[in-house]
Subunit: 225 residues, 2 copies
């Protein structure tokens, strides 16, 4: 947001593109995103982020106007990262449209497993915290969900065009349904430290659209009751 090089070099400040990996601003964003997929915004102090990013305490306000400005930049950074991830899977022309959605789900599942289900979704976490976050966060988070839904709807439209789902399927509505439930599944997976909720939601979603998923370990959710 304010990562462009200043027009006149200030004393002691290196003129460096702060979007490059390893520069202080991008390190703060990288560490911030990782931290906020695990913990809440209100529970995390700037000191913890600075220390983990190995950025000197005094320089935070050189890169961000405030903790809130940092939070909004984290949403942007995560949204960009995630949009690229969705494009990677949803635009894969080697796979059928529904396989692409499956591939995304399997990748997200593997991503959570890699961090032992401690890390979830930054945008979902912040959404849950909205009660104590500054109001500008609300519109920003909501617009990220809209963006993900639009990308998912596009893939579902391709599935419809390919005859993989019913010709009268409402792709926008299905994409909205997917993201409403998927965030709930990520929350439960973090709570239970396993993939059962992800698998159960994925199976339900594919049943709803009238397709059979091929995701590992489906149908294992909560048979204890």
């Amino acid at each position: 947001m304010n990562g462009s090089a200043p027009s006149r070099r200030k004393r002691g400040r290196p003129r460096k593109d702060q979007t490059l990996p390893g520069t202080p601003r991008s390190e703060l964003l990288r560490v911030g995103v990782a931290t906020l997929t695990e913990k809440g915004f209100s529970a995390v102090g700037i000191e913890e982020i600075l220390s983990a990013a190995s950025v000197p305490k005094g320089s935070f306000y050189h890169y961000f106007k405030s903790k809130d400005d940092f939070g909004l930049s984290l949403i942007d950074a995560y949204a960009n990262y995630f949009a690229r991830k969705l494009d990677h899977w949803f635009n894969n022309q080697d796979r059928s449209p529904l396989q692409r959605i499956e591939d995304f789900i399997v990748d997200a599942r593997n991503g959570m497993a890699r961090y032992n289900f401690r890390r979830g979704c930054l945008v979902g976490n912040l959404g849950q915290e909205m009660g104590v976050l500054p109001e500008p966060f609300r519109a920003r988070i909501a617009s990220v969900f809209s963006d993900w839904q639009a990308r998912t709807a596009k893939c579902l439209h391709a599935a419809r065009a390919a005859g993989q789902i019913s010709a009268d399927a409402d792709c926008e509505w299905l994409a909205a349904f997917f993201w409403i439930g998927w965030e709930g599944a990520v929350l439960r997976a973090k709570l239970e430290r396993n993939a059962e909720a992800l698998d159960a939601f994925a199976e339900g979603f594919f049943r709803l659209i009238g397709a059979r998923p091929n995701i590992r370990q489906v149908r294992q959710c909560s048979r204890q009751s």
Copy 2:
């Protein structure tokens, strides 16, 4: 948990059943539950709860061993309140089993609307915060979801016996799917400050079980994309 009257009256402490409404311990729990449906556990200080409950600062540790003990008691209090709510709707013999599930959904929707979608689900909020909560919270929260799922599965079994859903419907799996997605819907409703996500998830759930819901304002979710 430690709400029973002490065997010998201590100086300055009224011997009073602390489960009665208006007594300090029950007031702390009442205010704590209301606060934690809106904000996270880590974002809320004990002082805020004490002040809102009009309980003197010094007496908190008379009723609770620690903030964590208070948190676990809040989960129990909310679980009891919610179990009674589910029983109220799911055991209503004047309504068909699927109507009972609809009634619960409409009531939950009205409950959120009453507080302008600022309050969500205490157990869902705490689940999202697990990254920074003490480990004993995890099993307690997970067992609350199991309890809700078991009550919901029982109602779905009644629907199956009444022929309202398919004879081969897996009621335990459907109940698990419901709670996974419903918590996601509550999160989105809080974020967007409206009922669209609740209506969309409810509609998808009823479609999945092959029934048509009669909930107001269904099918309004995210058609913008």
